[in-house]
Symmetry: C2
Subunit: 356 residues, 2 copies
DNA sequence: TTGTACGCGTTATCAA
DNA sequence: TTGATAACGCGTACAA
């Protein structure tokens, strides 16, 4: 029944002193009682706890952090809070952190290095015990100069610069095996009888280059040569499919490998607007395995990447690194081809099997 | 070039004392210099700033908070980090907070009151200056007993208990005008010539009841009576459309009003699996206006709710409430019917206009 | 078994 | 113009 002063700057004012006073003990005893210190008699402990409850005592984390040199806060920097792939990662990360009693400070980098730098600084100000960066544009080298390298986790679910990590993998890096995914996709397409296969990327920076290159390598392996820049790849390609679709329609390949599901889905729609049907006129495959790829029409053939697992793994590894002091080895999570409707056997195959 | 001790528990150890020492002044002067206190000579200020830069000084927020009684942290509690509607809200909230120099502590309530209580407690521990709850299941009344009512913002984008706020609106509540949206949808459907209209909800709790009731009212206005519970409405309906679709197919109405876009999209897919085509065999409308409603096939007729605007508004209002001490009046954001492909004129209308 | 007293890093008050 | 010092709330070494 305590009245709350609306002008009080902070949300709480009852301190350990108050609790101790009410229970008739010192604040040291109060503190120890609340942490169930066995040296305090059971009776006292109970009394203190009762007092704390009565007073609605809530500990002040700032004071505790200052004293204990531990904040129980993790920083998570990612490109965006609102898109399906990062949303899944963020949710899994938050949940895993929560399970271990950590809070998460989020920041959106929006693909701008300056914002990322500020975010990292904010994390440092808040003395986060660990930091995870997902899909950031800042180089890992720079990141390591800005936060303690031993407490830094890097995730690359969006296929950026995975290629650069070939060779000995830097500890603390978690990624999905996109090159393998692209391989599987191309194999699948070739197996379906397609030869005229094009790639539609998103972003000319590091972003989609791994996919693009992997497509090239895979096709080459099948003895197919191809112009990987046949169609433009603006930075926010999925927003601009209406511009790209006519170009594709005017020079229609048999199959289209897209950088990501969102783009594939948007492209299917834009192509439909200009009279090109999927999979009848062109085969389309995506990448990521988001929910909407399962329920689109046609349902999208894609590569499922373990997004939630990645988020959870990053959080768990970071927490482990904090407690053990050692960064876990890098890991590459396997991805999986999911065959659905958007890529059907090529006409030539159907025809020849009809002939045969 | 300072070596970093890997065993140091916290990320930073250079303090104002260090900076002051290096600049040859006291820590008080160092503090004042960094905040550009005009009483400090320009030369000293510059020297201190230089020293701070050299030493890579970063202030300790915990200490500052303790002393200044301000944390510059906001708490955001929402149902889920990973679904498209909450993701958009979270992103907008975070961005607006960032613009005002606030950090955001996120928590996912997952529709469980116990989790929500814990989250609120954590926010209190961290002395967040304000708290926003979006789509929470906890009653606003209880929430007000757990955090300072003057610093609590409630958002209801997912249409929960909007009906309860009829009459004088509680300050600090922001919502979308879903009843109006449902009205518009039903009008549209009736205008298209449909009479046999059914509602497909999600959750029997507060969740989708506003929509359900609004559908009933709107149909009644048109002199159409209907059984609103014609089809089941499990809590996670959108995940279980494969179970519901056969029931719908066996008792096919002319038009289906869905609780939300995700459900509408999933349902279109499930219906397709059992041979029911949209919009040829049945008209379907959604609610929310998520991205994928724009690029689905058929593109979904829906009600666009201003999700990003809601997130931004909640953050801005909360921050204003913190500085002015007064909770802003409740607001109901208008929604907008977006006509696309998933609901076409009814056969009867087409036929009669062909006759006429 | 419990209390006293110090220090974590800041900012603000009071002196100089 | 600057410095010494107190205080924010907590945990803990040391004392009793």
């Amino acid at each position: 029944m305590t009245a709350i002063d609306p002008d009080e700057p902070l949300a709480r004012r009852v301190t350990l002193d108050d609790v101790g006073r009410r229970a008739g003990v010192s604040r040291a005893t109060a503190s120890r009682s609340l942490s169930d210190d066995p040296r305090i008699s059971v009776a006292t402990r109970a009394a203190v706890k009762q007092a704390a409850t009565d007073l609605h005592y809530v500990p002040n984390i700032a004071a505790r952090s200052l004293r204990a040199q531990r904040t129980k806060i993790l920083g998570l920097l990612l490109a965006n809070l609102s898109d399906p792939v990062h949303g899944q990662i963020a949710a899994a990360f938050e949940q895993e952190a929560w399970r271990s009693g950590y809070q998460v400070l989020f920041a959106a980098g929006l693909q701008e290095v300056e914002l990322e730098r500020k975010a990292l600084r904010v994390f440092t100000e808040h003395a986060t015990e660990g930091v995870a960066m997902v899909s950031s544009v800042m180089s890992p080298a720079e990141a390591q100069t800005r936060v303690r390298p031993g407490r830094l986790m890097v995730g690359q679910p969006d296929h950026e610069r995975v290629g650069r990590y070939r060779g000995p993998l830097t500890p603390g890096v978690m990624m999905t095996d996109d090159a393998s995914g692209v391989d599987q996709v191309v194999d699948h397409l070739v197996g379906l009888g397609f030869r005229d296969i094009a790639y539609v990327g998103s972003g000319t920076r590091a972003s989609s280059t791994v996919h693009r290159e992997a497509v090239g390598v895979a096709l080459e392996r099948h003895g197919i040569s191809v112009n990987l820049d046949r169609f433009p790849s603006p930075d926010d390609a999925w927003r601009r499919c209406d511009e790209i679709a006519p170009l594709i329609a005017a020079d229609l390949p048999e199959a289209l490998v897209c950088y990501e599901d969102v783009q594939a889905l948007a492209l299917m729609d834009s192509l439909r607007r200009v009279g090109v049907r999927t999979p009848d006129d062109v085969a389309i495959v995506g990448f990521d395995g988001i929910l909407f790829a399962e329920i689109s029409s046609p349902r999208l053939t894609t590569v499922r990447t373990p997004l939630a697992e990645l988020g959870q793994l990053i959080a768990a590894s970071l927490i482990e690194a904090i407690s053990t002091g050692a960064l876990p080895d890098a890991r590459v999570l396997p991805v999986e081809l999911v065959v659905r409707e958007s890529a059907q056997p090529a006409r030539s195959v159907v025809a020849s099997s009809a002939n045969g």
